[in-house]
Symmetry: C2
Subunit: 228 residues, 2 copies
C-alpha cells in the first residue's frame, strides 16, 4: 500500500491533474469502468484503503467527497481530420470555451445529438479535466475529441457555421458542416468569424445572450431533428 | 462604519443568506443596480470599506472574489396565479430542481424565450440564492418567480406538459400550458406525472438523459419559435 504523498505514482497522478498533458486522471468506479469499456489504456488504478492509504488518496482526489478509486490513463489520441471526415452528421468546434463545465456539457450534448465529435481550438478547457468529465456525464469517454488549430479549421473544407446575434439564417445544418461555438463574452475569434456563415437563435430582446451550453443544446437538437 | 461581525445588520444579512426567507441578499454593483431598477425594495446597501470594514464585508460575502457592495432586499412577492393567468406564452414549473445553478439557468432561459414566469414546486433551490442569481445572469430580478404547491398546480386549469424519455409528442406548446421540468434523476413527482402530457426530445440512444437546463433550452426555444 502506498502511504507517502511523495510516492512517484502519486506525484505522477498529481502532475497529470495539473498539466492536462499525455496522461489523464479519472475518479470513481463509474468513470474508470466506462474508460476501460471505451478502450482507454490504464497506467494505474488505485483503490482507496487498498492500494493507497486513505490519507494519501484524499490528498490527491479532486472531488470533495472522494470516491474509492482513482486511475491514471493514457490520453485518448484522436485526430481532428478523422472527426471532420464523418459526413453524415455535423462537427462541433469550440473556440475559447474556458469553463470545463461548459466544455463537458457540450460534449454530453454532442453524444445526445450524435455529432461526429468535438474539436477544440486553442483557449478551451481540457475536456478530460475532472470537472469536464463529470459535466459530460461520462460522454467525454465515448465522443471523439481532438485539438485543432485555427488554420487547420479554416482549411478543413467544410462550411463553418457560427452562432451570432445578427445571423441571417435560423436553422443549423444537418450534416457536412462545423458548428463553431465561442465563449459567451467574446464569441468566435476573428479569422473564423470572417469565414463563417452566421446563424441566429430567435429569442426575445430581454436578454443579451445565451450561455454557450444552452446555445449548443438548441442548435444540436435542431440539427439532429433535421437529420431525422 | 460597521466593524463587528456581531452587528445586527450583518447578522441579518447572514441570516437571509442562510434561510432564504422574507429577505434576500444581492452582491455586486450590477445585481444591486438591476434590483433597484426592477423595483425591489432595499433594506440596506453596504459598501466594502465605506459602510462596513473590509474584514467584516469579506466574512459575509458569498463569492470568492467579493465585489464591493452587498445589499439586503425584501424578497419580491409574486403570485403564482398571476403568472398562470398570462395566456400568450407558456409557464415553466420546476419540480425538485435542487441545484441553484440549474434553477438560475432556467430562469435565464425563461427570460430569453419570454415565458410567462417560473413557478417552483417544493424541493427546488431558491431562485434568489446568490449562485442562482449569478447563473440567471440577473434574469431572476426581472422574470416573475413564485412558489406553488403540487395541488395548486394540478388545479390550475392549464394543461401540464412534462418532458419524458417515452413521450408521445415532439413539439412543446406555444402558449396556454405549463412546462414541468423535474430533477434529472427522478423526473417530475408522481401526482404531476400522472396528469401530464408527455413530450419527448428526439435524441440518440447514446445517452440516457439530458441535463434539465439543456432540456429547458431546447423546449423553451421551440415554444418561442412556435409563437413567433
Amino acid at each position: 500500500m502506498i502511504t507517502s504523498r511523495q510516492n512517484s505514482l502519486v506525484k505522477r497522478i498529481r502532475h497529470a491533474m495539473r498539466e492536462h498533458a499525455a496522461e489523464i486522471v479519472l475518479e470513481g468506479p463509474k468513470q474508470v469502468e466506462d474508460a476501460l469499456a471505451a478502450g482507454l489504456k490504464p497506467v494505474a488504478v488505485l483503490r482507496r484503503g487498498v492500494d493507497v492509504s486513505n490519507a494519501v488518496f484524499d490528498s490527491v482526489a479532486d472531488t470533495r467527497s472522494p470516491q474509492d478509486v482513482i486511475a491514471l490513463f493514457e490520453r485518448p489520441a484522436n485526430d481532428a481530420q478523422r472527426i471532420l471526415s464523418r459526413r453524415d452528421s455535423i462537427v462541433v468546434a469550440l473556440d475559447g470555451v474556458q469553463d470545463p463545465g461548459n466544455v463537458g456539457s457540450i460534449v454530453r450534448l454532442a453524444a445526445a445529438f450524435d455529432a461526429a465529435g468535438v474539436i477544440l481550438l486553442p483557449g478551451c478547457a481540457d475536456p478530460f479535466a475532472p470537472k469536464a468529465i463529470r459535466a459530460s456525464a461520462g460522454a467525454a469517454l465515448s465522443v471523439p475529441l481532438a485539438q485543432i488549430s485555427v488554420d487547420e479549421l479554416i482549411e478543413c473544407g467544410l462550411p463553418l457555421i457560427a452562432a451570432s446575434l445578427d445571423g441571417d439564417q435560423r436553422d443549423p445544418p444537418a450534416r457536412e458542416a462545423v458548428l463553431v461555438l465561442g465563449s459567451e463574452g467574446s464569441g468566435v475569434s476573428e479569422p473564423i468569424a470572417a469565414r463563417a456563415q452566421r446563424i441566429f437563435i430567435p429569442m426575445s430582446h430581454r436578454v443579451e445572450s445565451l450561455n454557450v451550453g444552452a446555445a449548443a443544446a438548441i442548435l444540436l437538437s435542431l440539427s439532429f431533428r433535421l437529420r431525422g
